[in-house]
């Protein structure tokens, strides 16, 4: 009960009994609601004079016994999704490094336009970017999906890396410079590797978002998991299987995304244990980014005070 420990005392025997009873009552209610949904789905339905069997009837699931269907789902659908996600992930990390370099440049006419362009990428729907690339640059659906995801996630990863760079102790950069490195050298060889490790959990969590967003490809006509199951297979085998195909697609998406989220969480626990006690909340990339920024801000104002103070 870590959440309530802020507000409540440790429960006594009476409070524990009350919470046990209400837990059982609530659990029964939740199970009853789920059971009602299942029964509604299982009941056969009249539709246009024909009685359709319920959703748990074998006639609604028999296509999944055919290995050909699975081959199609995996090799066309899952692979289409993963191919777009992998390409976009690699490019987005590269773009993130580039964006954070340009954004923190010392030359104002590089820094300011980059900031404006990044604001633009972050404030616009990814779907609109996909449409733009598809119609204006005529790249085909795959590159429209990949390029839009790269720009959007690259902008966010760039922000994360920038926060990571800002949170580094200043001595790191000074040490690099004092060894005779140039500014860019110290960034690439000293600062980035550290910032990257610090921000790795956030970046992986952002990649979950990227993986989910590949499904937008469905709308711009890219062949991925959603289009394969809910469009191609559903129209080939008939409407009868639409619901079962939806369940399968949902299960496949949940599997991929949950595996990647767990990996992100595991990674953030590992890096948190190793690095100097600085913990980032692993759940939500946006949340983690806020905290990292707040840390960087605090550190900057600290060093600002000590640099300007009479003691230094």
């Amino acid at each position: 009960m870590s959440g309530s420990s802020v507000l409540f005392d440790a429960p006594g025997p009476r409070a524990r009994r009350v919470s046990l009873i209400s837990s059982i009552v609530a659990g029964v209610l939740i199970l009853a609601a789920l059971g009602w949904i299942a029964l509604t789905l299982a009941a056969p339905r009249e539709s246009g004079g024909i009685t359709l069997p319920g959703f748990f009837d074998p006639s609604r699931w028999d296509i999944f016994a055919d290995p050909q269907v699975w081959r199609f789902i995996i090799f066309e659908g899952v692979w289409g999704t993963l191919r777009a996600a992998l390409t976009a992930a690699v490019l987005a990390v590269a773009a993130g490094i580039l964006f954070s370099l340009l954004r923190s440049s010392e030359i104002a006419w590089i820094r300011i336009p980059t900031a404006i362009v990044l604001e633009f990428f972050r404030g616009m729907p990814v779907l609109l970017m996909m449409l733009f690339i598809l119609l204006v640059l005529q790249t085909g659906a795959f590159w429209a999906v990949v390029a839009a995801l790269t720009l959007y996630n690259g902008a966010l990863i760039g922000e994360a890396l920038r926060a990571g760079l800002a949170a580094l102790p200043r001595g790191q950069r000074e040490a690099g410079l004092s060894l005779g490195m140039r500014s860019l050298q110290s960034k690439m060889l000293v600062e980035f590797p550290q910032a990257f490790r610090q921000m790795l959990p956030i970046i992986v969590a952002q990649l979950v978002v990227l993986l989910k967003d590949t499904s937008l490809g469905y709308i711009v006509g890219y062949v991925e998991l959603m289009r394969v199951t809910l469009n191609n297979l559903a129209s080939f085998y008939g409407n009868r299987y639409l619901f079962s195909l939806f369940v399968v697609a949902l299960a496949l998406y949940l599997t991929m995304n949950l595996l990647l989220s767990w990996f992100a969480r595991w990674l953030s626990k590992r890096t948190a244990a190793r690095s100097s006690g600085q913990r980032l909340p692993p759940d939500d990339p946006g949340q983690a980014m806020l905290l990292a920024k707040a840390n960087a801000e605090a550190r900057r104002s600290d060093t600002g005070h000590s640099a300007g103070g009479p003691l230094v």
């Binding site: 209400s22 404030g123 616009m124 605090a298 104002s301």
Partner: protein
């Protein structure tokens, strides 16, 4: 540019639907999200389990799939909602776990020491909550909540792929009709989105700077 000015009514029709989607699903996501967050930190184990499962499942489902469910599977199962209402339901459900997480991290982000200190100077439960914990939780919660609403604004565009005529759908229709001015048409739509997201982002950043609790 002329294309944009000539088609301002079409843009406006789309944009007002975007605003409607944002308003309705924003409010209902806030309601559902608060309920889920309350369940998540309640002492009742089964509610906590339910809220956790709900959060994990909904957060890891692509929005496109959620809206597909609302626009195509629900009518298939026999619902008679129009597409805009279906999209509002989908967007509210999809956004609610993000709201819940923002609220929960705000409350959890208050160190236990604060409540302990409050109690040790003799404040009661009500005073501890209303004077010490909630003000700090509120400060930490509002900027991430605004970020959730920025994401929601951008997510309303996905409804355009499922038969709702909002800004994205308007842009797509105009782009198809005016093949020689696609760039202007799409930039026009982008401007409308930025007109919502950038001011919200500025407010979030300002509140964040002003309200960050230095520890």
């Amino acid at each position: 540019m002329d294309v944009v000015i000539d088609n301002l009514p079409t843009y406006w029709r789309g944009f007002s639907m975007t605003l409607l989607l944002l308003g309705v699903s924003g409010v209902s996501a806030l309601v559902i999200g608060t309920l889920i967050a309350a369940m998540r930190i309640s002492p009742v184990a089964s509610l906590r389990g339910f809220a956790t499962t709900y959060t994990e499942i909904v957060r890891n489902t692509p929005l496109t799939l959620v809206l597909f469910f609302c626009a195509i599977i629900l009518p298939y199962l026999g619902s008679r909602l129009d597409y805009a209402t279906a999209a509002m339901i989908g967007l509210s459900v999809y956004t609610s776990p993000f709201v819940a997480e923002a609220l929960r991290s705000g409350i959890n982000g208050v160190p236990v020491g604060q409540a302990e200190a409050a109690r040790s100077v003799g404040l009661g439960f009500g005073q501890t909550v209303s004077l010490i914990v909630l003000p700090q939780a509120f400060r930490m919660t509002i900027p991430p909540l605004i970020n959730v609403f920025i994401a929601l604004t951008k997510n309303t565009s996905v409804a355009g792929g499922f038969f709702v005529f909002e800004t994205f759908a308007a842009a797509r229709e105009l782009a198809n009709a005016h093949g020689n001015a696609v760039i202007a048409v799409l930039l026009g739509a982008a401007t409308l989105y930025l007109a919502i997201t950038i001011p919200l982002g500025v407010i979030a950043a300002q509140l964040e700077r002003k309200w960050v609790v230095q520890r």
